[in-house]
Amino acid sequence: MSTTEVMDIGGAFLESTVRTATPLALAALGECVSERAGVINIGLEGSIIAGALGGTVAAGVVGVGGGFVAGALAGMAIAALFAWFAVGMRADQIITGTAITLFALGLTGTLYRSVFGDAGVALSTPTAGELAVPGLSQIPLIGQAFFSQPAMTYIAMLIAVVLGWWMRHTHAGLALRATGEYPDAAVAAGIAPRRVQALAVLFAGAMAGLAGATLVLAQAGTFVEGMSAGRGFIAIAIVVLGRWQPLGVAAAALLFGAANSLQTLFQAMGWAGVPYQLFLALPYVLTLLVLAGASGRTAAPAALGKRD
């Protein structure tokens, strides 16, 4: 292989890494906030698929920008249902999340068919173009990957940075962390933990909705039933991998994106003979190895998943 070929492949690999990581990072950053408030939302998958459909429907009417907003709102609506049960009624977070995912997958399929008919739409949704940062996008190897992406990628990076700052440098961020660590302490300090949790869950829903909208409006250009394809669950794993820190979560999303791109790259290298399933399993095995390697107990919020 020539040097330029290696550079091309490397560049394409990095581009793919960032692309794959973007929706995962968005959803995982939201979930990070929700888990910091002590709520684990298995219904994230539901918010992602709702965001994808919301984005699709709205983008056809009001354009791509409106599509993203609608996606966020749709994701938030699903999260509101989750919050009503898991926060409002203190129902078990895991059963509720499971039901919410089932609900959203079914509901989006139903609505999609009733809006677009049994045959559906294909590739007719407008998509956001790439936004090249002048100068930076010309850097060899990494330029295209990091500085010539749809706007949503930059927004995800920005959100990671802002969230990291917000959690450490605002009172609201402190209140969030206290709620997830020790709700009684939050109460004693005059914070209303349930309100904090409800808001965190809604934020996570909006972020997951954005992730879903990104899948459609910045990547696929179409809605397909079940297109979230388990990203909600991966995002939950990414939060742990990123140790509940926004920047860590963004890095973990990139790592997962890289593992996944490696998988597509290996297949595209035409390495016949190696069963493709082994490549497909690569990201998961890699995640496990990284988690095991980063030994030592991960500092999960102490009250994560607790009911009372």
Binding site: R168, H169, T170, H171, A172, G173, L174, A175, R177, A178, E181, Y182, D184, A185, A186, V187, A188, A189, G190, I191, A192, A299, A302
Partner: protein
Amino acid sequence: MMGRGETAQSETTLLSLERLSRRFGDVQALDDASLRVRAGTVHALLGENGAGKTTLMRLVFGLLTPDGGTMLWRGASLRVRSPAHALSMGIGMVHQHFTLVPAMTVAENVALGGHGRFDREAAAARVREVGARAGLSLDPSARVDSLPVGAQQRCEIVKALARDVQLLILDEPTAVLAPSEARELLAWVRRFADAGNAVVLITHKLRDALAVADDVTVLHRGRSVLTMRAADTTEAHLANAMLGERTIAAPGDVDAETVVAAEHAAPALDDTAVAPTQAPETVLSLREVTWRDARGVVRVQRANMSVYRGEIVGVAAVEGAGQHELLRLLSGRLTPEQGTVVRPADVGFVPEDRHRDALLLDAPLFENVALRGAGLRGGRLDWAYFRRAADELISRFDVRATGAAAPARALSGGNQQKFVLGRELSGEPPALVVENPSRGLDFKATLAVQQALRAARDRGTAVVMYSSDLDEVLMLADRVYAMHAGLVNEVIPDRDAVGRAMLGTLADDAPESLGDTDRTPAGSSA
């Protein structure tokens, strides 16, 4: 002792509670509780375990709403919507159980509940400023879970003061403190009140109440049964009020005279039950035992110790000296990395935090009985046997519970403690290790626990007992080991000797210095 006369200058009533009531399911926690707190005073709120003290104060702090009665704040009707509301009006509360976030720093905990931007530097400065004003020193950047309890208690108070409160509610603040720390805290409470503020002090230590308070209110079964100036009453009088006008027949019950007498009892050196002529039989021993925690800090260093049949060995130490680990090494709950531990297979163990370390709170009492020794048992469990054992334990140790099937959570703190102690004694183990056995207990329960320990000793059990209350150690122990910075030494059971040994070469700021040692690997790898 502290200018109580001067406070008479102010007669403004800050907080006034009239005939408050509150019930939880079947329990009428408050029935007819009234309380009047004057500005510039310390008001002691007394009562036995479960009397309703905490509940009454939770009404004031907005954590609960009353079923009936009225509350007045500075003469105006008071309806507290939430703790945030209470804080905004100048009412702060330090809870019986710490409400600090362990994973956050002191500054972050103190700043909790604010709005807008959180400035680490400003928050740290605030901690230092409030700390300096109140005479409570704290490292703002220390993580709370790395602090000894004394410092955590100071953090709780600074947290309340940083909100500029005029009324501070302290719910059993000295229960977790070493005597010297407790003295400091009470002195500060006095100064705080003298500055024109007010304090409600909940405590089980009548002596402390009388020493520091201007006014005293006693609750009994949710009613205020006595309110008067502290200067006009005595410990015996208060104890009588706390016990109410019940006629008591149960074996664990006592009258006020005994209680007060017991609290002032000198170290009991004369009542060793095992015949002194017999050669002492070693039941527990440590030889050159060393133990390090997960961070590599040496907590116990080359400890040597022997405990004989039929004696109570006291351990005296300030928080964080390594006594926590020492007791677990003795009881076999920790395995030493160096040295030898000789112990019988069955050692009873009563940890200080019974919620966390001794009970399955949601399981019925008979399952909690079965928990003891569960790791060694095999095959089928005979539940009928454990039910009988639980019933027997309930009656023998005067545990107030609806029966063997009641969940442990349903018991009040004192009864949980009696249950745990009873359980650990029930197998008549050759050795028993207990840690702060009377923390948070009212005097009656304390006495019952102390009696149980003596009775075990008299039956021949080798008892090791640690209490953060040095007086309790001296009162119960036949021999005393003092512990300081991981080093264990036997000392003569004399107040001054023990006090010096447990503080080592360090001066009075010992707890804070130890906290620093914990965090500095250099200081500990020696």
